[in-house]
């Protein structure tokens, strides 16, 4: 992976870190490190899911139900309602 000074300037801007006089050294270091990363191209990961957490923990979700248990409970406070939906007077004429 070849980087340019423009790339370094862009990264510096995104990171909010200015690099006065350090650009050349960083460019060389980052290129060398990115070159080492190319070893990962050997690995076929087409059918592999990414590992997202250190402990391998996963989120526990409740069932995705299309209903809300509290629907209708507040209707009595409104002027009128229809089919569990609350109706309010028009605000803008």
């Amino acid at each position: 992976m070849r980087l340019t000074k423009k790339d370094i300037a862009k990264l510096s801007s995104l990171s909010r870190v200015s690099l006065k006089g350090e650009e050349d050294k960083l460019l060389k270091d980052l290129e060398e490190i990115l070159e080492h990363f190319s070893v990962l191209n050997e690995v076929n990961t087409d059918s592999t899911e990414p590992l997202l957490s250190g402990g391998g923990a996963t989120n526990v979700f409740r069932a995705d139900r299309g209903e809300w248990p509290y629907r209708g409970l507040g209707n009595e406070n409104f002027i009128s309602g229809k089919n569990d939906w609350m109706q309010i007077p028009p605000v803008f004429e």
Binding site: D7, I8, L11, S12, L14, S15, R16, V17, S18, L19, K20, E22, L26, D29, L30, E32, I33, L34, H36, F37, V39, L40, E42, V43, T45, T48, E49, P50, L51, L52, S53, G54, G55, G56, A57
Partner: protein, 479 residues
């Protein structure tokens, strides 16, 4: 005068109960050694002398009053400076946190206080724990007590040097890619990286959150087990912590049970790049373990060769995110120079506050997370991380413990690798897989190297089976 050499946690308790010394005398003796040695070793960044002596005096009073002592009561402990101790500086060895004092205790520190442990001070590290030699500290390099021309390892180099230099009986460190095990190996002590989730990270200055873990550095595997037992906990303040029962982790190992374990030796850890002397010492340590009639088995971990690249993509990505909070408005001292707008303040403070390695990792992390490169680098690394973890999980169906070197070389000379970051990163090659997979791993010093540079071997275990690796280490130490 209390003789601090070979003084273990267990021996301290015995000494206090037998009135061979008081906790106050012990603490005062530790500060005497610090006064004599810290100038050349630079293990401590700040000391807690008054409060430490007061805690020790309180322990003596409890003992005089006939109260029972906890395992760590009166034990002088050091704490890495990226772990918060209320009222003490917490610089993480960075200029950007130069004036910051912790306003609360880390969970691990609260647990040590509950046992009346004596907190001696805060130890040096690579800035924000980013490094393998403690040369990246904004407050100077920590030197190896065995050879002052050599590094103490990193990033928990201050904690390792403090224990090896008799300036603490044990210490806390943090391990993201080997930062407890490598300095322990270089300094000839024991270092344990617990299973990810075994110890609360609440109050640990975050570096790479999916990898960071707090653990003990100690003179013996038994001490490491006692300290680990004290800090392991489920903590509501860290959602990644898991409540595992570690009640027996420090119990005396039973030889017959340990003989029932099978130790795997992976080919991939003994190839090119391993220093010849380290290789020989690994053979010698294995021969010693075989004399205990523990079974050994050759294994293969084919994805090991990708671990370094995976780590140095994921870790900087998390670093660039975690260090974004240092914006010049909180924690940090005001930077020098004129500021015309808010972004000037960000740029100036971050540019003056972060050191070279921190900047390198922030930029690298920003790059691998940026549009157009995310899939090719970060997502790819997360997928290969899964394969490395799966590799280890499958291997642990055949074996109980994996034996490996800790580092390819013994402690290297100060300045030897600072010009070449990739060469420095290669120091972590054998320790990184345990962090990527989240498994526990311990560094144990090879026996019989008195007068030579220490070399450690590594034992990796199944998730939550710290007892397996510590027990093997404890039986090895008794040989």
């Amino acid at each position: 005068m209390v003789d601090l050499r070979n003084l273990s946690i267990k021996k301290i308790k015995e000494g206090l109960l037998d009135k061979k010394f008081s906790a106050f005398e012990l603490t005062a003796a530790v500060f005497d050694v610090i006064e004599a040695k810290n100038g050349e070793l630079n293990a401590y960044l700040s000391l807690n002398k008054d409060r430490a002596l007061a805690t020790a005096a309180a322990v003596d009073a409890k003992l005089a009053g006939g109260e029972n002592l906890d395992d760590l009561a009166g034990v002088p402990l050091a704490v890495k400076d990226n772990i918060l101790v209320k009222g003490l500086p917490a610089t993480s060895a960075s200029k950007i946190l130069e004036n910051y004092r912790a306003s609360y205790d880390a969970e691990v520190v609260s647990r040590l206080r509950d046992q009346n442990a004596v907190l001696i001070g805060k130890t040096n590290l690579d800035e924000f724990a980013m490094g393998s030699s403690t040369e990246n500290s904004a407050y100077g390099v920590t030197r190896n007590p065995h050879d002052l021309n050599r590094v103490a390892g990193g990033s928990s180099g201050g904690s390792a040097a403090a224990v090896a230099g008799q300036m603490a009986v044990a210490a806390l460190g943090s391990d993201t890619g080997g930062s407890i095990r490598e300095p322990a190996s270089f300094c000839g002590i024991v270092g344990l990286k617990p299973t990810y989730g075994a110890v609360s990270r609440f109050g640990l200055t975050a570096m790479a959150s999916s990898l960071d873990q707090i653990g003990p550095l100690a003179k013996t595997a038994e001490d490491a087990a006692i300290l680990f037992k004290a800090i392991a906990s489920k903590d509501a303040k860290d959602s990644t912590s898991v409540g595992v029962d570690y009640a027996d982790v420090a119990d005396d190992p039973v030889l017959e049970k340990v003989r029932g374990l099978t130790i795997g030796v992976p080919d991939e850890y003994f190839g090119d790049g391993l220093d010849q002397e380290v290789g020989k010492e690994m053979e010698r340590a294995m021969d010693d373990l075989k004399s205990l009639k523990i079974k050994f088995k050759k294994i293969s971990l084919p994805y090991t060769k990708y671990a370094l690249a995976v780590y140095y993509i994921i870790m900087p990505a998390e670093v660039s995110t975690n260090l974004a909070r240092y914006d010049g408005l909180r924690y940090s001292p005001p930077s020098e120079g004129e500021k015309h707008k808010l972004s000037d303040l960000y740029f100036q403070n971050r540019s003056q506050g972060f050191g070279e390695e921190a900047k390198r990792r922030i930029l690298l992390g920003t790059f691998v997370l940026s549009a157009g490169y995310y899939d090719a680098y970060y997502l790819k690394a997360q997928k290969v991380r899964k394969l490395i973890k799966r590799d280890l999980e499958q291997t642990f169906q055949e074996v109980d413990v994996i034996f490996a070197p800790v580092s390819p070389t013994p402690a290297f000379k100060v300045g030897e690798k600072t010009a070449n970051p990739l060469a420095m990163y290669l120091s972590d090659i054998f320790t990184i897989p345990a962090n990527l997979a989240g498994i526990p791993a311990v560094s144990i010093p090879v026996r019989g190297r008195e007068g030579k540079l220490p070399i450690g071997f590594q034992l990796m275990g199944k998730n939550w089976r710290e007892k397996d690796v510590l027990d093997v280490g404890r039986l090895y130490e008794r040989l």
